[in-house]
Every structure is written in structure tokens, then in C-alpha cells.
């Protein structure tokens, strides 16, 4: 499988979850693990460009696919991805535990709705839980991210062919 553009060998144990594979085998600890049953959204990553729960996939299932984690959105030292930049500007986080999952979900949301309505924003982040912010600043961040994303992003459409 390719993770953030780098090819990695398949995991040995079929029961290894993709979330655990990313964190423990590849050291990509930016993907957080909250509930491990698909409710909290912390572990959201992109699979061939679409957001999915990495705790609800076996790592072996990602063989032959492209996985993008929060680490893959912007290289070290490079400018932040528009969604990261928006969360930074609008204080779309407090403790930060849920943030990688929110950012990956919002990347997917803006791929689907580049100019989302408030309802589409609520729908798009409804699968991610945040215990700190009360969501108001996260909603603002999503709208800001849509503005910033009007500038073409190199990530858009990655893995689609």
C-alpha cells in the first residue's frame, strides 16, 4: 500500500487494524484512535482520496490503495494545507485530539461540496466528535477552509486515477 505517497509492505497479521498499522508499524501517530468502533471519527484518513474510518478497516484491505494521513497533507516546513490553515486561523481546536480526524473529514467534505452551505457543513462534520470546542469554531474553520481552497490544492483528486 502507499501511505502519503510512500510504498510500504503489507502488514503480516490480518487482524491488524489500519489505524494501528499506521500508528504502531509506520509510526504515523498523527492519526488518533478514540472509540475504535467508528463513532468518534478521530481515526479518519483518506483512502484513494475519500475519507474513511481507519479503525473500521483491516490494514491488509488497504493493499493496492493510497492512504493519506494528516502527515501527508503538508510536508514538514511547507505551507499548511488550506484546511489546516483554516483550523489554525479560526481556532478550530482546543486540546487537538479530534483535530486530525476533523481535518481529514473536512478535506473529504470540500471535495464533495467545494462551497458548502451551513447545512452541508453540519452534515459533513456530524461524524466527528469534539469535546472541547462546542463546534462553533470548527464550523467557522470549515467555511474559511472553503475560501482558502479556492486556491488550487495539489492534493485535490489524489489517488483518483
Amino acid at each position: 500500500m502507499k501511505v502519503n505517497g510512500v510504498a510500504h509492505p503489507a502488514p503480516v497479521d490480518p487482524r491488524r487494524l489500519l489505524s494501528d498499522h499506521l500508528r504502531h508499524d509506520l509510526g504515523l501517530t498523527g492519526t488518533h484512535v478514540g472509540c475504535e468502533h467508528g463513532v468518534c471519527g478521530c481515526c479518519t484518513v483518506l483512502l484513494d482520496g475519500a475519507p474513511v474510518r481507519s479503525c473500521l478497516m483491516l490494514a491488509v484491505q488497504a493493499e493496492g490503495h493510497e492512504v493519506t494521513t494528516i502527515e501527508g497533507l503538508a510536508a514538514n516546513g511547507a505551507p499548511l494545507h488550506p484546511v489546516q490553515q483554516a483550523f489554525h486561523e479560526c481556532h478550530g481546536l482546543q486540546c487537538g485530539f479530534c483535530t486530525p480526524g476533523f481535518v481529514m473529514s473536512v478535506v473529504g467534505l470540500l471535495g464533495q461540496h467545494p462551497d458548502p452551505t451551513p447545512e452541508q457543513v453540519d452534515e459533513g462534520i456530524a461524524g466527528n466528535l469534539c469535546r472541547c470546542t462546542g463546534y462553533a469554531s470548527i464550523r467557522r474553520s470549515v467555511h474559511r477552509a472553503a475560501e482558502l481552497s479556492k486556491v488550487p490544492s495539489p492534493l485535490r483528486g489524489e489517488g483518483q486515477g
Binding site: 487494524l17 468502533h37 471519527g41 483512502l47 474513511v52 474510518r53 473500521l56 491488509v60 461524524g127
Partner: protein
């Protein structure tokens, strides 16, 4: 919160998958995994074998046939949600699939998986039931058609035999007017109770071991929902009454 050990199989064709299901003891089919993997993580399911059908190519088609839409086993719920043929032929299904969990879950979850899983609080089994659709089950013994009315047997129990793979679901075109309404504690949660209306027909979900057809004039008849921490039986009956009124006022 890690899956128990199992032997993993990734067949490349439907025939291979059926051969595996015929020969293996205690095998479970893995499609989208959005229900099965949580069950594994909680260790509520401990199958000896997992048959992952995601490597089977050309099993993700959504196409029109016999005046309705057919949805193959690997078509993701998000693809059903975005499908032009589904929106045109069976807009009730488009409306219902939007109520299934969240988009990120629907990116992975499959419609056929929802039917095979047969959660009593799930929307899609009630939709195929109210429309009088069917599923196609394939095994190394052959292929058979199972009417929606025969498919759902109990809580997470279907008429599928252990060696059968649900390869396709078929939904007739939805009549006007239609409605699908549910009440849940939080957006995207399983419904406490829900109703699906297709013209004069009504199906209920979340209030019996399987989705059930009901008389729109007396939807509570014979209904004995269970109570739990989320809702009492009385509250579920109240919801059925109110949601049915709403569905038929539309």
C-alpha cells in the same frame, strides 16, 4: 478493542468466494465492514474465517433492470447516494441512504451489507421491504432470488444460508408520494424508531426484531417493541404513531 484472530481470505471472483463459503466452517463475509469490524473490535463476533469480497472486481455496479435499480454487493452507500439512476428511478432509496450513519461511513459501507447484516433499526431493510424488492443470493449450488418479505428472519438473521453470498439487491421504482422519517438520539445514530412510506404502503423499523409492514390506519397493531436505556417501549409506540402521521401528511 482489537479483532480476535481469524484466518483471512481475499477471493478475486464470486465463484472463488462461493467455493470458500461452501468449504469453510464458521466464515463471515466482509464487505464494507462498517458493522462487522466494530463487532470484531468488541469481540461480539469471533468468526474462524473472514472472506473479504473487496478484491472481487466488477461487483460494484448500480444499473437499471426490470423497471427498478439493481445494486451489486460492493456498491458503497455513498455511490448509491450519488447515483443518478437511483435518484431518478427510486428517489426513496436516495432519501433513505442519506440517513445511514455519516458520509465517512457511507464511503465504505455497502447497501447489500446493510441488508445482509439485518440490523432491526437499519433503514435500508425497511426500504426494500416496503417496496417489495428482492435480493439475489449466489452459492456454489447456484443462484436464487429471495423476496424482501422472506429475507429478514430475526434480529440480524436472514434467510441467507451460510454458503450463500448476497450478490445483488433490487429495488422497484418508488411510487409517489414517499417518505422516510426516523427519530434518533443524535444525528447519524441508529433510529429509536422509523417509518418508510411508499404510496399506500408502510414499513416500520427499530420497533420489532425485523422491519415490518404495517397498516397505515393502525400502525401499532400487534406491535410489541422492546424498551431499553434509550427509549421505553411506550415511547417507541408513540414515535411510530407520530412518525406515521407525519409520513402520511406529506
Amino acid at each position: 478493542m482489537k479483532p480476535p484472530p481469524f484466518e483471512y481470505h481475499a477471493p478475486a471472483t464470486v465463484d472463488e468466494a462461493c467455493a470458500l463459503l461452501a468449504s469453510l466452517e464458521d466464515a463471515k463475509v466482509l464487505a464494507g465492514g462498517q458493522s462487522l469490524v466494530p463487532l470484531l473490535n468488541f469481540r461480539l463476533a469471533r468468526p474462524a474465517h473472514i472472506v473479504d469480497i473487496n478484491r472481487i472486481t466488477a461487483l460494484d455496479r448500480i444499473y437499471e433492470r426490470d423497471g427498478g435499480v439493481a445494486i451489486q454487493a460492493l456498491a458503497r452507500q455513498a455511490a448509491v447516494e450519488d447515483s443518478e439512476p437511483v435518484a431518478r428511478v427510486c428517489p426513496l432509496l436516495t432519501a433513505a441512504v442519506r440517513l445511514v450513519a455519516h458520509r465517512v461511513i457511507r464511503n465504505r459501507g455497502t447497501l447489500c451489507g446493510s441488508l445482509a447484516h439485518a440490523d432491526p433499526a437499519s433503514e435500508l431493510p425497511a426500504v426494500v421491504l416496503v417496496l417489495g424488492g428482492h435480493v439475489i443470493a449466489r452459492s456454489s449450488r447456484g443462484e436464487r432470488l429471495i423476496e424482501a418479505g422472506q429475507l429478514f428472519q430475526g434480529v440480524m438473521e436472514t434467510a441467507l444460508a451460510p454458503d450463500e453470498l448476497l450478490v445483488e439487491a433490487w429495488f422497484p421504482s418508488s411510487p409517489q408520494p414517499f417518505a422516510v422519517i426516523e427519530e434518533s438520539r443524535r444525528h447519524g445514530d441508529f433510529a429509536l424508531a422509523g417509518v418508510v412510506r411508499a404510496a399506500g404502503r408502510l414499513a416500520l423499523f427499530g420497533v420489532a426484531p425485523t422491519p415490518v409492514l404495517a397498516d397505515p390506519r393502525d400502525p401499532l397493531q400487534g406491535l410489541q417493541p422492546s424498551g431499553d436505556l434509550e427509549a421505553t417501549a411506550e415511547f417507541r409506540l408513540h414515535l411510530v404513531r407520530v412518525l406515521t402521521e407525519k409520513a402520511f401528511a406529506a
